[in-house]
């Protein structure tokens, strides 16, 4: 534990990385989050006063604090990931599929996938280059033309099964590499927060479903939990690569190694300025690095949460991650560590007076 003057902040160690590995390797396409839900339920059982699974499959865990006038603080992270659903059996081990969540077709070609609860291996192939002509090679890949191929066997695959990229988690020096770091990083962080829940608040942990399918789980979760305010833990794209001509990259969204990214505005929400300030002041107080995620497109569960009931002040904070929604994304361990530290410190510093400030 890293000691500061007032508080002790949890750290990411081997155990937490092991858990992230398990979470990243699990398959949980939006609408079918069972594998991750199972891991979450195992992990949080001893640390929550009450755990429910709702009609959509959200895991809602309640940690009761002590003391008077406790804020009800929702912290959400989504369990689901982008992936595929089998839509038709073409015979001979070939299956048509559709994409669930935002994945560009060009990212699919020549990749290995895992299908269904039994993780049956398959591939997404394409015609050999030798058999193509110059015109064809220039044309973008069309999803309609692609198939998942499990080999010429009597298939155990059913129409309606989900599939994900088959990538296995690995560490690359100071970085973490795997599929579905969006948002297993958030899930792992939320599990740690629940294990170290500050006593002066009621912590309402929502492990949500169907974020990639339109922020649907968070909507009903926040309606049910009725929090005073909400923090959303997610992963945000880092486009911090060089531009083709070496000019200044003004559209990086977020950058690896610069600390957790605090949201001000995205397509789904204008994040509560009081909570944005609270995170920035907390980071400055504790000497935790942070960055402002570039305002612009994209969205998180905060987009659904802040509009529920008579309004819920919300903010998002993300671990910058390269190549989201692809077979292999890359994040920095230090950013994750600082993400956890910042949110934990922000929870510790919360008081009801924060919401009395002018928004």
């Amino acid at each position: 534990m890293k000691k500061t003057n007032e508080f002790s902040l949890p750290r990411i160690g081997a155990t937490q990385i092991k858990l992230l590995e398990k979470l990243s390797n699990a398959c949980a396409v939006a609408g079918d989050e069972g594998e991750v839900r199972k891991i979450v339920l195992e992990q949080i059982g001893p640390h929550a006063d009450e755990v429910n699974v709702d009609a959509l499959g959200n895991v809602l865990a309640y940690h009761r604090g002590t003391g008077e006038k406790r804020l009800r603080v929702m912290v959400a992270a989504h369990m689901d990931e982008v992936g595929f659903m089998i839509t038709a059996d073409d015979g001979d081990g070939f299956y048509r599929f559709d994409v669930v969540g935002g994945v560009d077709a060009y990212k699919l070609v020549g990749k290995a996938v895992l299908i269904g609860k039994e993780h049956i291996p398959g591939v997404i192939g394409i015609k050999p280059v030798h058999l193509t002509n110059a015109e064809e090679r220039k044309r973008p890949v069309e999803l309609e033309a692609l198939r998942i191929d499990i080999g010429p066997a009597a298939g155990k695959v059913k129409v309606g099964d989900r599939a994900t990229f088959a990538t296995r988690f690995t560490q690359l020096g100071p970085s973490l590499c795997g599929k579905a770091l969006d948002d297993r990083l958030g899930v792992a962080t939320l599990i740690e927060l629940l294990k170290n829940a500050p006593p002066h608040i009621d912590l309402l942990a929502a492990f949500t479903v169907q974020e990639e399918n339109g922020l649907r789980g968070a909507r009903v979760a926040s309606f049910a939990l009725m929090p005073d305010l909400a923090f959303v833990l997610d992963a945000t794209p880092a486009h911090d690569l060089p531009t083709w001509d070496g000019s200044e990259n003004a559209r990086y969204n977020s950058r690896l190694g610069m600390g957790p990214a605090i949201y001000v505005a995205d397509t789904s929400a204008l994040h509560d300025p009081r909570l944005v300030r609270h995170l920035m002041v907390t980071a400055d107080t504790f000497g935790i690095p942070y960055q402002i995620r570039q305002p612009g497109g994209g969205g998180t569960d905060a987009g659904a949460i802040h509009k529920q009931r008579a309004g819920i002040p919300s903010v998002s904070i993300s671990v910058p991650t390269r190549y989201l929604h692809s077979p292999a994304s890359i994040a920095r361990l230090a950013d994750w560590q600082n993400d956890l530290a910042l949110v934990q410190a922000a929870l510790l510093r919360l008081t009801p007076d924060l919401l009395k400030e002018t928004r």
Binding site: R96, Q210, R216
Partner: protein, 352 residues
């Protein structure tokens, strides 16, 4: 017993575009009156029919929604007695030119929706389908009469009368989704002679074609334990991909996907198999495109499923449906509701 084909044909001849469902609602209300214990109308205009179950109170309830609104057009301008129109719901501009329509002005006026001759249109629109904004309704009346009888905001519906075709099929406009209202009525008929423990809310919902507003608000006020959307789905027809369509007359579809609670899917599939009701499984990877999309995320969340009735040529004036599929969908619903017992909600769990 309701004469379903006759009732359906009457529904197909009644106006009731999205947001303006009063005429079709009156007709359904009259038919459901003897079949339910209580009827009321929501603030969004949806019709709620309650059949009380025999179980102890507080009883769980199941909401079955079939939207009664239809797509159509609305007058948004008058050019020398020719009416400009805009669409209500998703219309394909390619099917509109030269369709008979009814303009619901100060009185109902027959008319034809026409595409003006090419020479009168801007050059850039004549290459493809002429957009709706250039189409005009000609009522044959003088400009003065039109000005007196029609104002901006008046509704325009398809005038194609319903008729039977070979193989026990029916053709008409707004079979999407009056076919499902008919199926729900079959279900209510069946339940007259079947005991059921749960309460049933039969809902003829409004505004599905524009905002899913009727089902959203009805699910919020009724707060059922389970919700079913009955809606039409794509039947096989020339030019449609086979893996996204279902054969006409071979039974309803039971839907699978993120809008659907998997345990509810299992329960419906097992029941259909047990009762030898033919069905197909429809897979929707994202949005089911039905009232279930809205109802699933109402309040704390509601376990949902979609039952589909295969329909050809959706959103045209010549939609085609097999009467057998309507009867089977109604029977499937009735069997399911009759089989619901006090312990059913204990099975609505996530089998991880």
């Amino acid at each position: 017993m309701t004469d379903i084909p006759a009732f359906l044909k009457r529904m197909l001849s009644a106006p009731g575009l999205s947001g303006h469902e009063a005429p079709i609602r009156a007709l359904i209300e009259e038919t459901w009156q003897p079949l339910v214990h209580e009827l009321n109308v929501s603030r969004m205009g949806s019709l709620h029919g309650l059949r009380c179950g025999s179980g102890p109170t507080p009883r769980p309830s199941i909401l079955v929604a079939a939207h009664m609104d239809a797509i159509g057009l609305m007058v948004n301008g008058n050019m020398d007695g020719f009416l400009r129109v805009t669409s209500i719901g998703g219309l394909d501009p390619r099917v509109l030119p030269h369709q008979p329509v009814t303009v619901h002005g100060r009185r109902d006026l027959p008319g034809v929706l026409v595409s003006p001759p090419e020479r009168l249109l801007p050059a850039n629109v004549t290459e493809g389908a002429v957009p709706i904004e250039y189409l005009l309704v000609d009522t044959g009346l003088t400009p003065e009469e039109v000005r007196r009888l029609v104002r901006v905001g008046d509704l325009v519906s398809y005038a194609q009368p319903p008729f039977e075709t070979a193989g026990d099929t029916l053709v008409g406009h707004s079979l999407d989704n009056r076919a499902s209202v008919a199926a729900l009525t079959v279900c209510l008929d069946e339940l007259q002679k079947r005991p059921h423990t749960w309460d049933l809310w039969a809902v003829a919902s409004t505004q599905e074609e524009v905002s899913l507003g009727g089902s959203t608000t009805s699910a919020f006020s009724l707060r059922p334990s389970l919700a079913v959307a009955v809606d039409v789905t794509f039947a096989s027809s020339p030019g449609c991909p086979s893996h996204k369509t279902f054969p006409l007359g071979k039974g309803p579809t039971i839907t699978w996907g993120p809008n659907i609670h998997p345990a509810l899917f299992d329960a419906f599939r097992d029941l259909a198999e047990r009762h030898e009701i033919p069905f197909n499984v429809e897979v929707t990877p994202r949005h089911s495109g039905t009232d279930a999309y809205a109802m699933q995320v109402v309040a704390e969340g509601i376990p949902c499923i979609v039952i589909g009735i295969p329909l050809r040529y959706m959103h045209t004036p010549v939609e085609m449906v097999a009467l057998k599929d309507i009867t089977r969908a109604g029977r499937l619903l009735a069997e399911f509701i009759a089989a619901l017992d006090e312990k059913f909600m204990d099975t609505m769990v996530w089998k991880d």
